[in-house]
Amino acid sequence: MAALEIEHVEKILRGGQAVLRDVSCSARDGELLVVVGPSGCGKSTLLRLVAGLESVTRGVIRIGERTVNELPPQQRDVAMVFQNHALYPHMTVYENLAFGLRVRGTPRARLDQRVRLVAAQLGIEAMLKRFPRELSGGQRQRTALGRAMLRNPSVFLLDEPLSSLDAPLRAELRRELAALHRSLGATMVYVTHDQSEALSLGQRMVVLAGGRVQQIDTPAHVFQRPANRFVAGFVGWPPMNFLTADSFDDVARVPAGQGALEYGVRPECFSARPGGGDDLQLTGRIERIESQGSEWDLELTHRLGRVLARLRPERTLEVGEQIRLWVARGHLHAFDLTSGARVELKP
């Protein structure tokens, strides 16, 4: 096990396209670091750089005490689970798992023991003689994971390992993965484009967009204090509403800051009843009602646009009805209108 440090890494493709720009982040020894961002933001590229499958244009990558920039993948002591599994199609599950140890000349008896142990841990003992094409998506996933585990590397790199699975299986494997991380005590970098996965899994998360780091913090902090408008809109579901001061009924009560601001309110932060005295009010007409089980998603049009509110109303609501909603000041996020950076409001 070892810490991973990525410092000012830049990746510019031969065509001149910048895929990663000045990316710095680190995973502490034994930490599960989640990298999250929309499709095409450079997540896979970042992992490939760490693994040594591609070379950085600028910057430094360190694993433990070693600077690995110049080392080939064979010597970096990382394991990677690829977005598309990349199992060896002509080898059985057993051989897929064993390949890394075989290459390193592990004695046969020990190899066999390790392979069977990991297979048992992942619940694929019965699959050892099968070929990848004879496995279900979940079994392939486990095999890919097992291949990485067998190596017992300094750093695990997981590239959207669960993206090809259906929701229940994904949730199950996610829990198993978290448990696995605890039991191995391994340093892991987990890449996903699914913000809810990032929130539920990581000890810390890196939000990446357009090849730049937007924020690095614990899931709770990222959710509560998003560093900019992008993070605010990307993390959390349903996504945050963005409003101007004029959207509210009483503009004068909306806290102001320096320069023009944009305000963010999460759908679940609206309430159908006034709370404290300094709550902000917003009036709108119900356009659409959607049940989420115990809660209701309301789409409202207000003076300047639309908002989505998730409520637990006490009476039945009708489409077309005017409704008044309240937001506690503390639930208001503010962003600079031009730069998008977070602006702290005075309480």
Partner: protein, 275 residues
């Protein structure tokens, strides 16, 4: 199955059976003529079936025309060509598809260009080359040019491009050296295509006529088709003998095809197997 698909399927089978018949008929007829006695075979249109099957033509062509010798030459040349070109196509095709090196694009283009050049255009320069190095009338004269087979390289290159890079990357991360990756991952994955290239090269080499005729002028060094042409010129009235020669030339092809069809077919449908 709906009536529509059933009719379609029946039509397909009918069409394919017809095609197979058209292809096989001359082959079977020649074989049948090879088993006929002289008067029967020499008829204006020989019958479809020998009335008194005999091996006399086969025995004659082997014993009197030294066909065994030419057969041996052809086998040696075709086998060596096949082995060498599978080796070359396998490594060059892989390198051009998946190994980064300077000038890769230029080399790729040159190989592509090689596919377009007709063999006939190469005969003269090749002959000059082999004469300067004193390899005319050696097996090498037939094997070496065919081994650098651009079609094989292009086929392997295209096939290799269809295999996800991540599989090779996974092996790198697993700690395998480039040679180990080539041996344990690349070659097994390419195997169906290598088999297809091998069969293709074997057949082309076996049937090749022009270059072997020019490069192998010494008596006893000719390959089967060249020797057969000489026999035909000499014994053009002996239809049975010629048919026996033709049958003997065909036979190994049939064996090669039947033996390799499993791999051959696999490479044709391989696109649907790699996901």
């Amino acid at each position: 199955m709906s009536l529509r698909t059933r009719t379609l399927r029946a039509g397909t089978y009918l069409g394919l059976t017809g095609l197979a018949g058209v292809t096989l008929f001359p082959l079977l007829w020649v074989t049948s003529i090879a088993l006929m006695r002289a008067p029967e075979a020499a008829a204006g249109t020989p019958p479809l079936w020998p009335h008194h099957p005999t091996l006399v033509n086969v025995i004659n062509i082997i014993s009197r025309q030294h066909l065994g010798r030419y057969f041996f030459n052809s086998i040696v040349v075709a086998t060596a060509t096949m082995a060498l070109s599978v080796l070359v196509a396998g490594s060059a095709g892989y390198a051009l598809a998946r190994v980064e090196f300077r000038g890769r694009r230029v080399v790729s283009w040159l190989v592509m260009l090689g596919v377009l050049i007709p063999n006939q255009a190469l005969v003269l320069p090749l002959f000059e080359m082999f004469r300067t190095v004193h390899l005319v009338n050696h097996y090498a004269a037939l094997v070496l040019p065919a081994a650098a087979n651009p079609v094989g390289i292009v086929l392997v290159q295209a096939y290799m491009r269809g295999i996800p890079v991540e599989i090779l990357d996974a092996a790198r991360i697993d700690g395998a050296s480039e040679w180990r990756i080539y041996r344990s991952i690349v070659v097994p994955l390419m195997a169906p295509m290598l088999a297809a290239v091998g069969v293709l090269v074997f057949v082309v080499s076996w049937n090749d006529f022009m270059w072997p005729m020019i490069a192998m002028q010494q008596e006893g060094m000719q390959t089967l088709p060249v020797a057969l042409a000489a026999i035909d010129r000499e014994h053009y009235q002996d239809i049975g003998l010629m048919a026996a020669g033709a049958t003997m030339t065909m036979l190994p092809m049939v064996v090669v095809f039947l033996a390799s069809q499993r791999y051959y077919l696999r490479s044709v449908i391989a696109g649907s197997l790699t996901d």
